[in-house]
Symmetry: C2
Subunit: 214 residues, 2 copies
């Protein structure tokens, strides 16, 4: 594996493909497959074999000529590259249906993302228990984030409210924001990493592809 400095030059297109490799390798592991050639992997993943080799060479390779990849080793290495051997403390801001769905998503916890708290402004749902965690009033959030070493905030709240809360969270020391509000957040504090999820974009890709059959 390369040093962090060398890693830094890696394009975001490569980074985006790593979780896919990770998912496919996980499925191979579940099926007790021990090794795989870049060609076989490429057929399964619908990318070219040379793309796979190029992507993995960014991190120092891992393959062996004529042998292919050791599935478990490669899975573990990609896990480390993605930072999945660490544990991330998470809060969910906005505990409506989407926030609760994410809190209940057990796969996230398996990958080291542990939901520590849920917050909402709605007094009707404050106090309700979701997976053993009581939804808290958003007024408690500042103290909570400052005292509990929260790493990531998941924003599942309206577009209008997201920018102010995101800037507050940044000030309180959060390191990453996983934003589901339908807007591209831009913070004053550039040290906070933002990952914007735009669900409607993938729905529009779908309509593009079926529009002539509807």
């Amino acid at each position: 594996m390369l040093s962090k400095d060398e890693e830094k030059k890696i394009s975001s297109a490569v980074i985006k493909r790593l979780p896919r490799y990770y998912r496919y390798l996980g499925e191979l592991l579940e099926n007790d497959i021990e090794r795989i050639s870049s060609k076989e992997l490429s057929v399964r993943m619908d990318v070219t074999a040379s793309q796979i080799r190029q992507d993995l060479n960014n991190f120092g390779g891992f393959g062996q000529q004529g042998y292919g990849y050791n599935v478990e080793y490669l899975y573990n290495e990609i896990s480390k590259i993605l930072g999945l051997e660490k544990t991330y403390n998470i809060i969910i801001v906005g505990a409506g249906n989407l926030g609760q769905a994410l809190a209940n998503y057990i796969d996230f916890e398996k990958s080291g993302f542990v939901v520590k708290g849920l917050f909402d402004v709605n007094p009707k749902i404050v106090g309700i228990s979701v997976r053993g965690l009581e939804i808290q009033d958003i007024d408690n959030m500042e103290m909570y984030v400052k005292n509990k070493h929260i790493d990531i905030a998941v924003l599942t709240l309206p577009k209008q409210k997201a920018p102010k809360i995101a800037n507050d969270l940044a000030e309180w020391g959060i390191k990453g924001i996983w934003n589901f509000a339908p807007t591209d957040l831009q913070l004053k504090d550039k040290s906070v990493t933002i990952e914007n999820v735009h669900l409607s974009e993938s729905l529009m890709t779908l309509s593009y592809r079926i529009k002539d059959r509807v």
Copy 2:
């Protein structure tokens, strides 16, 4: 705008950027901005101006030398390209938190995606009303899809159940599947378009970027 035959050669990378252009142009419209140069648009969107020109040239251009783009015109043209001037009848399969969150997402309806039915296997939630629609037993789904001209099925159900239900839906005439089950669906019927959403992938991209600060 080009004919469908010409459109077909357009790469999926371009298609994926179109909804982003659409969103940004929508925000410009909301702010009463009438025209914009590819350079200004590129700064806002963090892609190069030449990328924008290239992408839009795939559909015949739309820009005018020295004038830039007419925001409303470009917004409407991209809307047509994405198929958003049509109406899509949607069902949601799996009416848990995520299914209900998507059913309640009013922006989808504004773009022409109309939720017509929700289905679940869980008798405890069958009959509950979500945005005026009663959650139905999944046993009703076949007749419903066949009789009601359903175009798109949203799958918010466990990974294990998704492949069988997806193949059934394809047989019953569905045209597109928006899949939230954490697996890449592959159907026998290749005429059905599948858009897989992998939420965990974007979370892993986030952990990659913050891992050294945690």
